[in-house]
Amino acid sequence: MESSGTEIISVKVASSEATSRVLTKRRSALWRAAQQAPRALSVISVVTILVLVVLAFIFAPGARAFQETFFNLHQLRETVFGDPSLNIPPIWGAFAKNIELFMVAEPIILILALGVALIRNATSPLMAGPRVLCTIYVDIARGLPLILVVQAVFFGFPALALPFVSSRTWFQYGLFCLVFCYTAYVSEVYRAGVMSVPNSQLLAGRAIGLTEGQLLRHVTVPQAVRVVVAPLINDFVSLQKDTAIISVGAGVIELLRQVEINEQIWFTDTPFVIAGILFLIVCVPLTRLADALLARDVRTRLAGGTRPTSRRRWRARASAEEIAQVVGA
């Protein structure tokens, strides 16, 4: 009984080994196919989706009306290059306002947010008061929708009739709204970055005799920045888009305001399409940059660039040996 039992087991083991060998062989063939497939696969899938979208545009029941409203070539041209007879200025002027808002707001936000983050991270009892104030500010600024802040500032500040506050330009009001809301977000990003540096790193820095200032400069900040760059660019992108919200304040003729004016002339949505395209032209490269920076960081630290290739080579060699074994047997 016993011997037959072990025989059965050994037969089973042998057969399962054979199956697994065959399976490994098949798997490795699949694996190699999969290694070469991604490029072809992605090309095919992208092309398929594009074709479907174009077909929908052309053959949808309402395709004609849709094109007239959203992609009216005549209106496209007039919106972009302007038409003096209809009193439409070229779009560049309005879009430059968005870029200007963004370019001026961003450095101010980066600096103020660093201050807020440092105050909120400070442990000294002397900083207790400012810390509470900053916490309250961040809670409020993050909780309020930008559009409400714009309403409040554009209608509230002039109404206050205060000497300095109420006599600013519309552009400065817009700037204030963006800085007010985004400083809170960016300060949180900074804080997350600083807190992501493990305590063991601070110990290591102190252990080689660095002062607290040197520790911040050579250990904490360089590591925090790596963590923070991608989320910061994310916030830049969001800020760039949100410059459009300033349009509800009405005083600044920026991109969205301008295309709304154009829309009032034709009652079509084509001008909005232009606005969308312009925002994409600015924002997509920024998001790509964020991804590229992230990828570069991972590469330098983990040398990930060399890893997949070496693993692939190992897989290929192992399967060749397995095949040789199977053939030999």
Partner: protein
Amino acid sequence: MNDDSVGEAQIPVVETQGVTKRFAERTVLRAVDLVVQPHEVVTLIGASGSGKSTLLRCLNMLETIDAGRISLFGQDLSDEAVRGELVRRHVGIVFQAFNLFPHKNVLNNITLGPVKALGVSSKDAEERAMSLLDRFGLKEKAREFPDRLSGGQQQRVAIVRAIAMDPELLLLDEVTSALDPELVAEVLDVVRELAHSGMTMLIATHEMNFARDVSSKICFLADGEIAEERTPEELFSDPRDPRTQQFLRTLTNAGRL
């Protein structure tokens, strides 16, 4: 090392009296008295949580003490004028988890302290770092980032980083506890070489055979106090304190001794 000092009263590198440390309600160190003479290698052994790491961190002021007195090289650390970072320029420490800076390559990990804290020129610091790396067989790793090194290599780099500061005292905090067994030897070899070169060291470890080899004195810590302080031969052959006996028995039964 220095023949002139023989017979004269040497200033001990470390001298603690009644050092006590509490974390909240828990007392981690109770009235620890410890003396380390120049060129001595003193080993702290004892179960996890017995206070070994805390004692080391108190000595270079990474932790504050609640009572007692610590002097290093005859200088009382409780003096208001003593600043932690100045003490740590003379007292190196190596951690269990290496704690290398992941954003700096091996060479820059090593030169950061000498250049920024000691004011050595980068060129001199690099030359010295390269010669130390060469001495411990890590020369070709100088431009690598820590994440690409094995645990043993990382810990050797961490030791080089500490001794690049030319410390007068080196604290080793369970430097092999985070390593795979096959990597322990390469790190212990480095420590042995340092011991032979006359480096004054205070070592917390669980490697009993290593402790027996390398130590001039072994302190067995239990419940935050030094239960027994003897030469290695005496401690391992004739432990007196019942807690030491129990500890060594446990290790023997576990096949670690």
